[in-house]
Symmetry: C2
Subunit: 294 residues, 2 copies
C-alpha cells in the first residue's frame, strides 16, 4: 500500500508527476519534457502514458491532450449556443488554445479576442500541445494578445462582445483577479444585449466555498447565473463546475438547435441533452447553500 | 514535479496510500491501520487526513468516511424512490454498510437482506468504520448473511423483493459474476412487479467498455435501463455511474415525492433535482454508443 518505487510503469524511464492538494495526490505516469519559470508561474509540460502530453502551472494540472475535452466543451458550448449572437467573442486566459478552438467551431463567430497573460504558455502550447489549439492558432478570426485580461476588460468598450469566457486557473497567483466583483462588473458592462458570460468555477468538493461564493456573486452582478457540473479527472476531486451568467434571463440553459447541430457531432462529452442534465445536477449541499445565501 | 518524499504531509508519520490504475494514481496522505488477506481479497483500512478512515480491497479504493455519500446516495435513492413498493430489499455486497444504512432511512422498508461474501469486510467495517453502516447494523429490519450473493439470487424465490441492489467491486475477483446475463436474469426473476434493480456500473471514462456493455445488457434483460452519472473522487477518473433497471418502464427516473421528502433533508448530494440531472447527463460518446448498439 505504500508508495510504489520508480519506475512508475512498464516504461523504466517513466516517473510519477503529481499534483498534491489538501492531503490528496493525482499523478500520471510519464516524464517532464519541458519546465521553465515564466514571469508569472512555473510552466511544465509532461508526456504521460494515459493522456498524452499535459500542462501544469505551478505544479497544478491544467490540461492534457486526451482529457481536455471534458473541460473545453463544457465551458464553451452552453455560452455559444445560448447567446443571442456570437459575432464577437472574448476569451480571458485559455493559453492552451482549447477554448478558442471550440469557440471557432461555431460558424457565427466573426472575431475572437484571446488575452492570455503568459506568453510562455501560448508558445509551448503551440509547439508541444498543438492538437489542443488545433486550427485556432491560424484561424483568421483569431486575435491573440499576450497581456493582462483584467486590464483588457476594464478598458474594453461597453457592449462590445457577445460572449465573454474566463478560462483561468485557480483564484491564486495570476488568476486571483478573475474572481471578484469589479472584474465581473466589467465583464457585464462589455457584454452586448443578449450576451452570455462563462467562467470555470472550481470544484464543489475541493473548493466548496470558492465555488458557492462565485455563483452567488455572479447572480448578484448579472441577475442570472447557474453552475453546470461535469468532470475533469486531473483536477482536484475530478468533479468540476462552470458557471454561466446573463442579464436578460438564463438564456445559456437552452441550446439553440441550429447552433447545437453545428457542433454536436464533433463533441465527445457535450450535447444539448448532456448540458440540460449538467445544469440540473446541482448537489443538495450546494442547492441549500445557494438558497440560504439569497 | 517528481514524487515527493515521505512524509506526505505535516504529519511526519503519514505516507501516501495510492491506487494505481492504467498510468494514473490517486493517493491519500495517511497510514495503514489494519491489513489482512481474507479468503477473497486483501482488505486494508487506512486513516487519511482528508477523508477520515477508508477501505481498500486488493489495493483499490472502496470507500472512506467523508467521501462515501457520493456513492451510497446515488445507488440507493433512485431505486428506493422509484419502486412501486419497498417492503423487501436485497443488497448484494455492500459490506461497509453504507448502502444498507441509506436503504433503511426509507420508513417503508420492512426487511432488508444483505449478502456479503467477505466476513472480514463486514467485521472491520463494523469495528473501524462504524459511521458508514451507522444504525443499520443494529436495525431490527436488517438481516446479514455472509455468503455468496450469486447463489443467493439463484436460489431466491421468484418475485420475492421489491428492490435488488448490487453494491460490488469491479468485475474482476469476487465481483466478476455480478456483471453477466445469468446473474441479471435471476435479479429480474426475483423482483416483484413494479420492482427496481440497481447496480454500480463503473466509470464511463476509466472503464468505458464495461460501462457501455453493462447498460446494454441490462436493457436487454429488463427492457428498461438507464445510467445515472455522478462522482466518487477516489475511484478511477472520479467520474462514476450507477445503472437502474425495471421491467414495467423507467420508473426509477421519477422520485415519488412522499418518499423523496422522507430522505432528502438527510442527503448531501442526492435530491430529486440532482437525480433528474444525473440521468440526463449522458456524455455524447455514451449516447452514440448506446444508439449504435441497439
Amino acid at each position: 500500500m505504500s508508495t510504489p518505487p520508480v519506475p512508475a510503469s512498464n516504461d523504466p524511464s517513466a516517473q510519477w508527476v503529481d499534483e498534491i492538494f489538501d492531503g490528496v495526490r493525482y499523478g500520471l505516469a510519464g516524464r517532464v519534457i519541458a519546465e521553465q519559470h515564466s514571469p508569472f508561474q512555473r510552466v511544465t509540460i509532461i508526456e504521460s502514458e494515459r493522456y498524452g502530453k499535459g500542462l501544469l502551472l505551478d505544479g497544478c494540472w491544467m490540461t492534457a491532450e486526451r482529457q481536455e475535452r471534458h473541460y473545453h466543451e463544457a465551458l464553451v458550448h452552453p455560452a455559444l449556443c445560448g447567446a443571442a449572437q456570437v459575432e464577437r467573442v472574448l476569451v480571458i486566459g485559455g493559453g492552451d488554445g482549447g477554448t478558442a478552438r471550440e469557440c471557432l467551431r461555431h460558424a457565427g463567430v466573426q472575431h475572437l479576442d484571446m488575452v492570455e497573460i503568459d506568453g510562455l504558455v501560448v508558445e509551448w502550447s503551440q509547439q508541444l500541445l498543438p492538437g489542443i489549439g488545433g486550427s485556432a492558432w491560424s484561424d483568421p478570426r483569431f486575435q491573440l494578445t499576450v497581456g493582462d485580461g483584467i486590464a483588457w476588460v476594464r478598458e474594453a468598450e461597453a457592449a462590445s462582445y457577445d460572449v465573454v469566457i474566463v478560462d483561468g486557473s485557480d483564484p491564486a497567483g495570476p488568476a486571483e483577479g478573475l474572481f471578484n466583483r469589479a472584474f465581473f462588473e466589467h465583464c457585464r458592462r462589455i457584454l452586448r444585449p443578449g450576451g452570455v458570460f462563462a467562467t470555470q468555477s472550481e470544484s464543489p468538493e475541493a473548493f466548496r466555498e470558492v465555488h458557492i461564493a462565485t455563483v452567488r456573486l455572479l447572480r448578484e452582478v448579472f441577475g442570472h447565473a447557474d453552475p453546470l457540473y461535469g468532470w475533469v479527472p486531473m483536477y482536484p476531486s475530478g468533479w468540476w463546475s462552470w458557471t454561466f451568467a446573463a442579464v436578460d434571463g438564463p438564456r445559456y440553459r437552452d441550446a439553440q438547435p441550429e447552433r447545437a447541430a453545428g457542433v454536436a457531432a464533433g463533441c465527445e462529452i457535450w450535447s444539448p441533452r448532456w448540458q440540460s442534465g449538467a445544469f440540473e445536477a446541482v448537489p443538495a449541499f450546494v442547492e441549500r447553500a445557494l438558497a440560504d445565501g439569497g
